[in-house]
Symmetry: C2
């Protein structure tokens, strides 16, 4: 089943690096996206905010380096928890976009 989001965004805020009880590093962040997208023959302004999380080896590598940066990310979306349907992007790949 496909589930893949590719997004360019600015990192508005990063949480402190934390570890799961099993010792896996977790870095949560909040992304803001703005672009123009073609739709039904016109260009429309598109914006959104999405919470994102980087789990595993990438988390300590990027921790503290992302706030304010423009990044290109890809990963899958999932609801935050069984009780919270808010969408979270689980980042599989991240790279900085040069300004």
């Amino acid at each position: 089943m496909h589930n893949r989001l590719q997004l360019s965004a600015t990192v508005e805020r990063e949480a402190d690096l934390r570890y799961t009880p099993a010792g896996i590093p977790v870095l949560e962040m909040w992304l803001r996206h703005q672009s123009r997208q073609p739709q039904a023959g016109i260009e429309r302004d598109v914006s959104c905010e999405i919470q994102a999380v980087l789990i595993g080896d990438g988390a300590p590598r990027w921790a503290g380096k992302l706030t304010g940066q423009c990044i290109a990310v890809s990963g899958f979306i999932a609801q935050r928890s069984l009780r919270n349907p808010r969408l979270v992007l689980h980042i599989e790949h991240v790279e900085l976009i040069k300004g």
Copy 2:
């Protein structure tokens, strides 16, 4: 700026086809996704619900035919409105997945 979501999902509900004041057809629907995705060395169950909208020529072509179907869609995500930050998938391409 990249903004592209590819998702396989079941259509839980479809709204009635409507038209904007400019006469552009709009079909709103609600999608449920379930899959397993690899993360930090393990497979995790992933699920989410996302509202989606098909705007333009595709809307009347698919109206009334999607509820209960499994589909593969791609498009961009945007917040619902200036005041409502909920994410909506703007569908650019849809195809039925054979069961």
